[in-house]
Structures are given as structure tokens and as C-alpha cells.
Symmetry: C2
Subunit: 307 residues, 2 copies
Amino acid sequence: MLLNNINLPSSVTIKEVGPRDGLQNENQFIQTEDKIQWINMLSETGLSYIEITSFVNPKWIPQLADALQVAKSINRYKNVTYAALVPNERGLEGALEANVDEVAVFMSASESHNLKNINKSINDTFPILKPVIQEALAAGKTVRGYVSTVFGCPYEGAVSADAVLTVADELFTLGIQELSLGDTIGVANPKQVEEVLLEVLSRFPKERLAMHFHNTRGTALANVLVALNLGISNFDSALGGLGGCPYAPGASGNLATDDLHYMLENMGIKTGINRDQLLNAALFIEGKIGKLLPSHTMQTERGKNCT
Amino acid sequence: MLLNNINLPSSVTIKEVGPRDGLQNENQFIQTEDKIQWINMLSETGLSYIEITSFVNPKWIPQLADALQVAKSINRYKNVTYAALVPNERGLEGALEANVDEVAVFMSASESHNLKNINKSINDTFPILKPVIQEALAAGKTVRGYVSTVFGCPYEGAVSADAVLTVADELFTLGIQELSLGDTIGVANPKQVEEVLLEVLSRFPKERLAMHFHNTRGTALANVLVALNLGISNFDSALGGLGGCPYAPGASGNLATDDLHYMLENMGIKTGINRDQLLNAALFIEGKIGKLLPSHTMQTERGKNCT
């Protein structure tokens, strides 16, 4: 039966992607010192994983042009894994220079999105990622792979589980240790999540998988629930619901860390994260961005004394 | 296993409560002719149940002071059940005069909320509802009961399943045909929904139950998923995520009909509702309210060509 204690994990690792996936989608540059201060606040919440920036060409993501400075300047807490996105060997150089703990490579399950996002076909992307993964591993880093558009593509619509498996197979073969399955445009429904995950779980152990949901259509926590029930215990989210995908029309923010935290903790699933510190960190970045964060938790906090 | 075809209903009845639970929580009076036009639009979407108004004292809910006129003036579609909320015999008179199909009575599972909302203790509420239910049944109406604060009370916090069962038992004994279990302040989590529902389902058949979730903390669709998996096929929602509870601090809107519709239809669960007509009806009331509706679907529609 659904939600019995055998199936549900007793604890979950929330992987905070707000400093990267969140901020890269804001139409403004957040000051470097503010990013650093925010990441330091995040490190004190009990989060054990923070994706702090992206070493992409600043031409494409000017919001994160200060990747190296941010990565070098934050306080490093010993129980926190600090990760950075890297698209290629040049990006890896920066990540290694900053001595991040983990690098994350990325590509899409759908050809058109991969072409738009990376400017290469899927088949032409593997040779680019291969040396990145190998060199990162050789440097003692762990490597994570993202696969985007797992549950739907803004250009192609439906994406087959086979397309996801093909990319997953190749990335694991190249040496990634964890694969994050992304609902880039937030179209997934729980039935689909179960179907796709059952296929993926028939090939790869659940410990190697993470889910990366966007809440574009409000289904993210329902999708999390299905994944939990299949034993997944790694979830990506962005504090306050920051972010989206600039290359996916209509995409709104990531699943909010604070909303995910609310559901998990209230279900008795431990996250190790302190709610008050989390909300303080959300308020901090909300002030810097200068607009209200969209998460339900932040809205509810603001409406506590509703009229 | 979760979401297998044996457990999931093949179709769901969405009960639209926007004209009542939605509009009663707006800080303005929507013009009577606009309400009528909106309800007529809702009737054409394929919805089979619409709660059109509330026959409460206009002193308490001035937004619905035109209950009788609205109920008498709307077009009545033969495949649609038109329901109205009634607090007492006086309210019932109006509902009968307007010849609605169904009347809905309401009370809370928690003593303090019942006192605040109805100005009576729980035990003193039953004698008020008894003649309302009996007379409505005698007049050939169906009767629905709402129980509020099932998953938490803004004044007392946790609410026991026993408290819910006590109210449910008594209301069914008094003759209600369906009970709607309300997460009035939107605090429920999926594990709790399963626990409470299993208790309720041990006493009452699933066909007699409906779930009424608010999306205050973003968990509404995850909670729906659990209820679906236990065979529940009646869900209350308000188009665009209108509404809340004026007596519950921090409560935000109802689960949005459009978001619920998205999830269900994409899971292959039929609702009989046309999406385009639904969104047109949402745009109509959004224009009349003069502020943006908070549902994810409406936000996504607005952001289709996001920059």
C-alpha cells in the first residue's frame, strides 16, 4: 500500500540548486558578495549539498559570470558537498581551480532541446562530456549528470523512456556517479513519473538517482511522492521556488526547497535542515532579488496574519 | 504498487466550489450579473457539480448577499448538480426557494474552529443541522456535509481522527449522503491524508466521501494522489485557486480546478471537463476580480512566452 514504511525512505537528501538553477534564470546580476553571503547562510541550514554556480561561458549566463570568485570565496563546511555545473573542459578548469567537491555535467533527453541548449546533437555531446567526466574523476571529484526534458520537451512534446535510458546508459558508462532526472518544463504527472522511473530503476540502482522537478503546473510534490514511494531519496530544489529554464518557453520555477522540506518533515522523513534558518536564507535572497519568491511556504509566511 | 490501474479511479468528479468558497473570500462584491454569467460559463465546461453560493446571513458574508438572485437566475443544465451552502433553517428556506439540487451543511472537527465559525460547540451544532438535513431530504434534495479542519486547526493545531469520525458518524446518521473532508488551512501532508482516510474508510464507503484540499503549502495535489490511490473519486476545487477561509489565519486559496484537471487528465483519469472552456471561465472571473489568479496553470498560461 502507498506510503507504507517499507517503501518510504526515512531520510532524504535535498540538493539545493538555487544559487545555480535559480539565479541563472533571474533577469539581473546578484552581487557577488550577496551570493557568497547567501551560500554561507545555506551552508548553516543543515543542507548537505549545494550547487553553488555554473562554469559556463558568461556570454550565455551573465548572471553567473562570477563563478570562480563565488566558488573560491564561500566558507566551506565539512558536511556540505559543494557542486558546480560544467559544460565542457574549459568549465571544468574553473571548477577544479575553485576546488569544488563535485562537478555536474548536463544534456537533454530530447534532440531539439539538446541542440538549443548545448548547440550539439545528443550523439555529439557525449564526446564533449567524456573528457570532462574523466578529468574530474581523475582529480578526485565526484561527478553528477543531469538529463533534461525527461518528461517532456518544449519543442518536441513527449519524450520516450528509451531516449532517457539511452542518455542515462551512456552517462553512467562515462563514469557519472549520480544521475538527476529533470522535468525541465514542469509537465510531469505522477503516473508518468512512476512509469519512467520503473524503467530507469530496472537498469540503475535507486541510490544513483535524483529527481529534479519544476513546479510549473503544481504537480512537483505529487511527483516527489511517487518517487519517494519507489525509494528515491535525492531531490533537487531551489529555495523559495527560484529559477526555471531560460531555454524552455513557459517554464516557471524549480520545486521550492521550503515546500519540499515542509512535506517531507511533516511526513516524518528527515532532511537534517532547520526550517527557521532555511526561511531566513529565503528572506535574504528575496531582499536581494527585490521581488517576492513564489514558493507556497513563503507566500504563507507572508500571509500569516491574512486579512 | 502505487498508481496501478486497480487502485486508481478511471474518472473523477470535480466539484467546483469557486462561486462559493472562492468568492466568499474575496474582499469585494462581484456583481450579481457577473456571477451569473460566470456560473453559466462553468456549466458549459463539462463540470457536473457547481456549488453556486451560500445562504448565510449577509452580515457575515456580504460577498454572497445576492445568493437568492444568483441561484434563481443562472441557467440550469440538466447534467449539472447545483449546490448551495446552508448554515441553518433560514438558509435552507432560501435554497429551497431557489430550488437548488443539493444543499451542503458544514461544521468543524475541532471545537475552537467550530465555535469561531458557527458560534456553537460541536455538540450544539448537530441539533441545528438535524432539521436542515431532514427538511432538505423531505423536499427531495440531496444533502452534503462538510467537515472542516480535518487535518489541522488554526487554533488547536493537531486534530485527531477520532474527532473527525465523531462528526462524520453523526452527520451520516442525520442523513447526509456525502461527506467532504476539508483541509481548511492547507496543512495536510500525504502520509496524514492516508492515515486519516484509512480510518474514515473503515467506517464509510469511498463513494460517500469527497476531499476538499487547500494548497496553502503546495501539498494539495500530492494529497489528492493519496486519496485517488485509496479510491476516492470526488474532489472539491476552485477555478484558478480562488478562495480560502476568512476565519483561518494564513489560509490561502483552494486547490485550483485547473491544476487538478491538468494532473488528472494527464494521468488518464477522465473529468469530462474541457480545458479551453475552463481556462476561458478562469480568465472571465480573473477580469472581474481584477487581480491575477494564483493557480499554476493560470500562471503558466500567462508565462507562455516567458522572457
